[in-house]
Symmetry: C2
Subunit: 190 residues, 2 copies
């Protein structure tokens, strides 16, 4: 028995990449344990030993797969960190390697509750990692201690998505500066 | 000949409602001029006289159909207007009557370029109507004259969507206050 399913089998990264590639290429319905096993060259029994369902595998893949990782910036200022973070999110939303995966997860609605749940888990774990940006900004006296990191990340990530998907417009550094300006200034009001 | 296709035929509202109902119930692929004609009791020739394609009809329906309209608030303060507007957007995203339509438009990605384009047109026209909120706030001296309304609306609407779709969490008045606090304060910084 493995210590923890979170650790994953030896070929975990290959399995994760296969799962998110299948999601991006063929969509959620075509993503099956069978297809992941075949394409990654791993026995189906092995997959089921680690993940009870394709949804469990997908949730793990979204959280752990290397292309979906963002580095948590540490630039020395709150505004610098938000700018770097917004740039990373914009990259995930637009880069060849990740745009289709992002679109699949972001468009999961009531009709794909398991995929939506995997997305919720992904964004919840990411928010936990992003908290350090706020802890450091509070320690530096840049923002109030009662700031809600979730609200700030929603504003930033939501605006980037609105610009790209709702308006069909490109995200450039000027746009990132504009949203960071509002958010960074707004968090200093009492 | 009608003066302008934007005016629409006599049964325009029925046709619009039928089109957005079909989109919500069956999805973009099942939405055809044939189906709209049948369900709304309007001759297909009439539809084509006004709209050259289902995409043109859909774009008109999104912009004009009553359930998707939002009233532009005029509360006397920028913060009050943003709060009311955020409440209206939250309602569109969650109400029984509109949530499925919103989900269909918001999830239109590269695979549904015509639906995405109809969405872009919808949000562009809506932004034009929202500008008066900013004009009045500038006239009252509440915000700087170089404020970009698109940036502010992206932040608000994007955060509401992120909260609901990415995080799977409910939007309550406290959340709306929190995002409006950041945005209204942030737009006062120089």
């Amino acid at each position: 028995m493995p210590d923890s399913p979170a650790a994953g089998p030896r070929k975990a990264e290959t399995i994760y990449l296969t799962a998110i590639d299948l999601l991006a290429d063929s969509g959620y319905d075509e993503l099956t344990m069978e297809a992941v096993a075949q394409r990654s060259g791993v026995n189906k029994t092995t997959l089921y030993r680690w993940w009870p369902s394709k949804d469990a595998l997908l949730a793990a893949a979204l959280t752990a797969a290397a292309p979906l990782q963002i580095s948590i910036p540490d630039t020395g200022s709150f505004r610098g960190d938000l700018t770097a973070l917004a740039g990373e999110i914009a990259r995930l939303l637009t880069a060849d390697e990740t745009a289709a995966i992002a679109a699949a997860v972001l468009s999961a609605s009531a009709s794909r509750p398991a995929l939506a749940a995997a997305g919720h888990q992904f964004f919840s774990e990411r928010l936990e990692r992003e908290r350090v940006i706020f802890d450091r900004a509070i320690a530096r006296g840049e923002v109030s201690a009662d700031i809600d990191p979730g609200v700030v990340i929603d504003l930033l990530a939501g605006a980037l998505w609105a610009r790209l998907v709702l308006r069909g417009l490109a995200i450039d550094p000027r746009y990132i500066d504009a949203i960071v300006d509002v958010v960074a200034c707004g968090t200093r009001c009492e």
